[in-house]
């Protein structure tokens, strides 16, 4: 398991690299547009005599290069992810390298060492620091420095012709050796200092990123280990309760037969004792049943195929049928509002049965004689909602947050009904969570309780 998460995290870093490479490519579109607009403005608006044709040719070359880059980027990414990662550094290096060449041509055609375009070298130093390693960034910077020095020396020595922009520099100063030295000194130092500053910050950020990934890995591992432990614990509980079920059932069945006199006459006292024993085993059986239901809800999402389309209206009817006697016994007024058409929900029928039995059972249990219970189903906003409200004993506001806790029973609940495992609502909540549903309880002490369950459909 940890192996998987590591590869997954690494790929998120890789995703980031791909993002940045794309970002670099899209910056280049903007640059080309910038060069075009600036040179046209300089030429036609400001009437500066720059050699437009070579500059536009350079722009076209950059444009072409960028098309090649983006095509290569998508092509290699489609072929193989690994391959892309392997060639990523080389790819970025090559792009910066060609950008320098284009830039040096641009500088040459806009006045060589006198050109204000020379400042733009700094941008690529920063980009190299972001995309490449520290070493590669310094190498790239050195390459740029080499290009600038070569250009100025070649122009100084008149090996290549100097392009003079008269509107900016009426008197040429490229051949002034002191000016040349000073400009080169400040240009080179600014490039190296920029490289130093940018790589320092980039490295720091990268280190942090790595730390975050390690941290995330650790948290994921710990979470998975905990989840596994919890599952093992649930499985253990399931096995234990399962084992308890058969002997308890046998004891209870035998006691019942004895109590009813099938094993010979039973004295009044013996009968009373048997009934008491039955009550105790009965409680244990309820506990076993609740624990089994509780653990089922904890085991996780239901398997595909176990769930079926179930009509909520029918489910309510079925549950009420089984509880009719108790409703009559307590003389409870019962109203049921169902949806007009069947309200189908994809759920394991037994899970729904447990949920409905618990909710309606609670309403009956905690409603005094002559009280009212109202059950209604509605479909709203892509969810099925089931409301069970009663005029029962209600829940104290201090208890309302605890009622979903395992084995918790409030004082007033214990007073009205001494038996109960305190697991019912925990079971219901777990089961509802299995289907991404939601349960909400509104209650006023002494007035009644409304439980609302909703399932997405």
């Amino acid at each position: 398991m940890p192996y998987n998460t590591h590869t997954q995290e690494r790929s998120s870093v890789e995703e980031e690299l791909i993002e940045r490479a794309l970002w670099f490519i899209s910056l280049r579109w903007i640059t080309v547009a910038g060069i075009g607009i600036t040179s046209l403005t300089a030429c036609f608006v400001l009437n500066i005599g720059i050699p437009l044709i070579p500059i536009l040719i350079i722009s076209a070359c950059i444009l072409l290069l960028n098309f090649v880059c983006i095509t290569y980027h998508h092509y290699i990414k489609c072929i193989s992810y690994r391959q892309y990662m392997k060639s990523h550094q080389r790819f970025v290096n090559l792009q910066i390298f060609t950008d320098w060449i284009a830039l040096v041509f641009l500088v040459h055609y806009t006045g060589g060492i006198e050109s204000p375009v020379i400042f733009y070298f700094i941008f690529h130093v920063i980009i190299a620091a972001i995309l490449l390693s520290r070493k590669a960034c310094y190498l790239q910077t050195s390459f740029a420095v080499l290009l600038i020095i070569s250009l100025s020396i070649l122009e100084y020595a008149n090996i290549i012709p100097h392009v003079q922009i008269k509107e900016l520099f009426p008197n040429p100063i490229y051949d002034n050796s002191l000016y040349l030295l000073a400009t080169l000194f400040f240009c080179i130092t600014s490039l190296y200092v920029s490289a130093y500053l940018a790589t320092s910050i980039a490295n720091r950020i990268r280190k942090r990123e790595k730390e975050i990934i390690v941290l995330k890995d650790n948290i994921t591992d710990a979470y998975q280990a905990l989840e596994k432990k919890d599952r093992e614990k649930s499985e253990f509980t399931y096995k234990v309760t399962h084992e308890l079920r058969a002997p308890l059932s046998a004891i209870q069945s035998l006691l019942k037969s004895v109590e009813e006199g099938y094993a010979g006459e039973v004295s009044e006292k013996a009968k009373e004792l048997i009934i008491r024993s039955e009550k105790r085993t009965g409680f244990l059986l309820t506990l076993v049943k609740d624990l089994l239901d509780l653990v089922t809800g904890k085991i996780g999402k239901p398997r595909e195929g176990d769930s079926k389309s179930v009509d909520i209206n029918e489910a309510v009817k079925c549950t009420l049928n089984l509880m009719q006697e108790k409703v009559k016994e307590k003389n409870i007024k019962l109203t049921v509002n169902t949806t007009e058409k069947p309200a189908y929900l994809k759920i394991i029928p037994d899970d729904l049965d447990i949920i409905m039995t618990n909710l309606i059972g609670n309403a009956i249990k905690y409603t005094r004689e002559g009280g009212t219970i109202n059950i209604s189903n509605i479909i709203v906003d892509n969810e099925i909602r089931i409301d069970v409200s009663d005029t029962g004993i209600g829940i104290h506001k201090d208890d309302i947050n605890e009622i979903f806790d395992q084995f918790y029973r409030s004082k007033n609940a214990k007073a009205i009904e001494s038996d109960g495992t305190g697991l019912g609502l925990t079971i219901v909540k777990n089961l509802i969570k299995r289907y991404d549903g939601h349960i909400d309880v509104q209650s006023k002490l002494g007035k009644g309780t409304t439980v609302t369950v909703s399932f997405p459909v």
Binding site: R245, A246, L248, S249, A250, I251, Q252, S253, L254, K256, S257, E260, Y262, A263, T281, L285, V288, K289, L292, D293, K308, S309, V310, D311, E314, A315, K317, C318, I348, P349, D350, L352, D353
Partner: protein
């Protein structure tokens, strides 16, 4: 009405005993089998009036297989003479048996006539047994 014969197939001798007592007290003749294989054999030989069948025996679903075997529609089924015998299935508490309100009939649909949940309540047992035997008649 002659003594009706009831076959109990269950591997838990205490549950068998708890059922045998009230049944015999009501003049049913009880025969027992403690596994699916023996149960099938006795069903074929004795052709009882009712079979009470536990689900979980050696395996968690042994009872289901016994029921399918007994109700098999195959023309060469060994248990042709048992097809009409009513089956009362014993289930454990909280055992999934598929609720009746699901409109989809599926694999979980069981060819049995009724269910009784453990622990056994003698009154319920006798009522169900009486109903199933009468229906058969």
């Amino acid at each position: 009405m002659a003594n009706q014969k009831i076959l109990i197939i269950d591997d838990d001798p205490d549950i068998v005993e708890a059922m045998r007592m009230p049944l015999e007290a009501n003049d049913y003749k009880v025969i027992t089998a403690d596994c699916g294989k023996e149960g099938l054999q006795k069903a074929r030989e004795e052709v009882p009036d009712l079979i009470i069948l536990d689900v979980m025996m050696e395996t968690d679903t042994e009872g289901f297989h016994v029921a399918y075997e007994l109700r098999s529609e195959k023309h060469d089924s060994e248990y042709k003479n048992c097809r009409k015998i009513p089956i009362l299935m014993i289930t454990a508490i909280s055992q999934k048996k598929g609720m009746s309100f699901s409109p989809e009939k599926d694999d979980a649909f069981l060819p049995v006539d009724n269910f009784i949940e453990k622990p056994i309540q003698p009154k319920d047992l006798l009522k169900m047994v009486a109903e199933l035997v009468v229906n058969k008649e």
